[in-house]
């Protein structure tokens, strides 16, 4: 059985590493934050699987703490960019294929 748990944990670790592409590529900061949040959920699952595979029941507590505090970074993220916008500010949404100068700089 623990072989199966370990394989599942390895698979989930692989999905985290794949999902890193989204953090690296963005393009918006919302995308990056979303990906980090997703890693939290996957990390909780990996910890639960490892707790059975390695027979270490304390890992359930670690998973509990991760689940409990997963939301903190997201709340901090929302508190960014709160300078009061002038009332006539247009919501500066632009189509993703416009190569505007404020496109996030990608240095790869």
């Amino acid at each position: 059985m623990s072989l199966f748990y370990m394989a599942a944990a390895l698979f989930l670790l692989g999905t985290i590493l794949l999902g890193l592409v989204r953090v690296l590529r963005g393009p918006g900061s919302g995308d990056r934050m979303l990906a980090a949040q997703l890693f939290g959920t996957t990390g909780v699952t990996i910890l639960l699987l490892l707790s059975l595979a390695l027979e270490e029941s304390a890992l359930v507590d670690v998973a509990l703490v991760f689940a409990l505090l997963a939301v903190v970074a997201a709340v901090a993220f929302v508190r960014q960019h709160g300078l009061p916008e002038p009332p006539d500010t247009p919501i500066h949404r632009q189509p993703p294929d416009t190569p505007g100068p404020e496109r996030p700089h990608d240095d790869r």
Binding site: S29, T41, V71, V78, I91, Q94
Partner: protein, 98 residues
């Protein structure tokens, strides 16, 4: 024996959902559709894995702890998705200072 088989099946189903969530995160075109990966796919995947692990739990306390973890992750995922979506909606997908 049956418990083991159920665990394997449920965890396997959960992994499929995780894979779907990652695919969604990578392939969907914009933030709003990528939110599905967070709020739906991964939370269902975690739910299935936890359901599978419950068959291996030692006692009612362990089962309750696993359930609590799922509830907390659900709450965190919902809140985070809501806040990321709202912020993207009010500030635009690309900020001007990066």
């Amino acid at each position: 024996m049956i418990a083991n088989a159920l665990t394997v099946i449920l965890i396997f189903a959960g992994l499929v959902f995780f894979a779907a969530g990652t695919a969604g995160l990578l392939r969907f075109p914009d933030v709003y559709s990528r939110l599905h990966a967070l709020t739906k796919a991964d939370n269902v995947g975690l739910g299935l894995v936890i359901l599978g692990l419950m068959f291996q739990a030692g006692g009612p306390a362990d089962i309750l702890k696993l359930l609590l973890i799922w509830v907390l992750v659900l709450a965190a995922g919902t809140t985070a998705a809501h806040m990321v979506a709202q912020r993207t909606w009010t500030h635009g997908e690309f900020e001007s200072d990066r």
